[in-house]
């Protein structure tokens, strides 16, 4: 589960820290207390920045770092495709062996394939991605029922 790529991102996170954004969300994983505050800045259809601050396990923190590396600079359509692919991989319960096509989309994020075998940790890996989806929807003025989620 702890691939070197994950440990690298954990020890040397990309783009960490909060910078100006169009929307901010705070998401919590109530089962373990992982938390993330995440901001999205858009310029038309382009993601100019995803900034974040959080605390949590290596999986949740590394995942946010990978997200930043993958999504910043992308068009929204491409970013959504990456997010959906990552979600599919994480919900696969270890049954998806990433192929070349998936690896091309997910880059470093394929390292999380092993995490999908651990139901208790899938939420850690998805925390920042769900926060990004939520923040993007808010930045675009779409309604969302996931805002201001509170811990149980």
């Amino acid at each position: 589960m702890y691939q070197d790529v994950i440990l690298d991102h954990y020890k040397h996170p990309h783009g960490r820290g909060l910078r100006p954004g169009d929307a901010e969300v705070h998401h919590v994983n109530p089962t373990c207390g992982d938390e993330i505050t995440l901001r999205v800045r858009l310029s038309g259809e382009t993601i100019e920045d995803v900034s974040y601050e959080g605390q949590g396990c290596s999986i949740s923190q590394a995942s946010a770092s990978v997200l930043n590396e993958l999504l910043v600079g992308k068009e929204l359509g491409d970013a959504r495709r990456i997010q959906e692919t990552f979600l599919e991989l994480m919900q696969s319960k270890g049954r998806i062996e990433p192929d070349d096509a998936m690896e091309e989309v997910l880059e470093d994020a394929v390292a999380f394939a092993g995490v999908s075998k651990y139901p208790a940790r899938v939420k850690c890996a998805l925390l920042s991605w769900m926060a990004w989806k939520d923040a993007t929807a808010q930045a675009l003025g779409e309604s969302t029922d996931e805002t201001a989620r509170k811990s149980a």
Binding site: M1, Y2, L7, T31, C32, G33, D34, E35, Q55, G56, C57, S58, I59, Q61, Y118, R121, C124, S151
Partner: protein, 418 residues
């Protein structure tokens, strides 16, 4: 290994627990240190459960056939055993619930529905503590929200104990009920019952004690506690899950109204109104967890045959050893009392900046089962400014060798994330 006085014959005891022989993750011997979450079950309990379903299964208090009578006798016999186990003055004071949470919710709801002098309403106050399990926080928050009562609590000292310095301002003439945990599931602290009960009695407040982490580990005597209600759960004390206990003083159980309505809890029913059965049945609506109660009775027999004093002494010795060994691990910080005095066998800690989830996962890879997270006591984590802890918790079958395995495992964790 150095000789540690007070230990039980764990080699013999462990033979009673088939699951402790399991190997996990390709040949790693299971080291089960998550006993505060749930205990393992001895063969003696598993056999009784199987025998109940294979030979005696029927609904209780209803049929006149032989199985119904046997099932009823076993179910009510379990009540006798629990009553003796906690030294209850009367067997009718033992209410079966599904867990400690339900027991505590039952008390909170009874007090919200009660007439004077027990009624909790907008002019009254409820007192809890900052070290409660969520199951002894949320029911009182709900009651306070519904009734307008004020919820107050004791804070914690830096060394993981209750701060009772302002007890006279916290428990006042307005206080109707004081509910607190006897042994903390996250800090391990054993709380000073007498001081709290004395003050509660001065102002005429009812006392509710959450004994979930006490009943499995030490002699529990509801009469010497002088509480009005005591709640605990079966699965943490070698019993099956799905069975909990609420002990309550008889006169209170007579006076207080039922919460759940249904079969079993009635005397007569017409379409206009009903009258209720006497306690404990008044509080046991519907078919109860019969096999689970019988299983808990067997668990109590098992624990009694070993001796609760001896179990407490064993755990004290293990706790002392574990605290000493854990403090040798660089970067490890205990969250809770740092000595074994007035302390149970649940030991929480942080390990440098390594998140508890990562600690738990890498320990698991070595076959060591601990609990990570906020342990359903998030206010404690907030109080000490930490997101979560790793918790190792011991029981009657835990050995010094398992403590050593944990310490070695933590060294591995440090190297992995260091």
């Amino acid at each position: 290994m150095t000789h540690i006085p007070g230990l039980l014959d764990t080699e013999a005891i462990r033979k009673d627990f088939p699951i402790l022989d399991r190997v996990v993750h390709d040949g790693k011997k299971l080291v089960y240190l998550d006993n505060a979450a749930t205990s393992q079950k001895p063969r003696q309990v598993l056999d009784v459960l199987a025998e109940y379903y294979e030979r005696h299964n029927a609904n209780v208090h209803r049929g006149v056939h032989v199985l119904a009578e046997e099932a009823t006798a076993l179910y009510e016999g379990a009540r006798d055993k629990i009553a003796a186990f906690v030294n209850a003055p009367s067997r009718d004071e033992v209410i079966f619930t599904k867990n400690a949470s339900e027991s505590l919710n039952l008390v909170a709801n009874m007090l919200g529905l009660a007439d004077e002098p027990y009624r909790v309403d907008h002019d009254t106050e409820i007192v809890i503590t900052e070290m409660e399990h969520h199951s002894n926080i949320v029911p009182w928050q709900l009651l306070a929200q519904r009734t307008g009562a004020k919820l107050k609590w004791f804070g914690l000292t830096d060394d993981g104990r209750l701060d009772l310095s302002n007890i006279e301002e916290i428990i006042t003439e307005k206080t109707k009920v004081v509910s607190f945990v006897l042994v903390s599931n996250i800090l391990g602290t054993v709380n000073p019952v007498e001081a709290i009960v004395r003050r509660a009695q001065e102002v005429g407040a009812l006392v509710v004690i959450d004994a979930s982490q006490a009943a499995p580990h030490m002699p529990l005597d509801v009469q010497s506690l002088q509480a009005d209600f005591v709640a605990f759960t079966g699965h943490k004390m070698c019993g099956p899950d799905g069975i909990g206990v609420l002990w309550g003083r008889q006169e209170l159980l007579e006076d207080l109204p039922p919460f759940l309505g249904g079969g079993e809890m009635i005397e007569t029913v017409s379409m206009h109104s009903s009258t209720y059965a006497p306690a404990p049945h008044k509080f046991e609506a519907g078919t109860p967890p019969i096999a689970q109660a019988v299983g808990l009775g067997a668990a109590v027999d098992y624990l009694t045959s070993i001796g609760m004093e001896k179990i407490a002494r064993h755990e004290h010795a293990i706790t002392q050893y574990a605290i000493q060994r854990l403090q040798e691990v660089p970067g490890l910080k205990l969250i809770g009392p740092t000595t074994a005095e007035d302390r149970g066998a649940a030991i929480s800690f942080t390990l440098g900046d390594i998140h508890p989830h990562d600690v738990g996962q890498v320990l698991d890879e070595q076959g060591i089962a601990v609990r990570v997270g906020h342990h359903c006591a998030r206010p404690v984590c907030l109080r000490y400014g930490i997101p979560a802890t790793t918790r190792a918790s011991f029981y009657l079958y835990s050995t010094p060798g398992e403590v050593d395995a944990l310490v070695e495992g933590l060294e591995h964790v440090r190297n992995f994330f260091g």
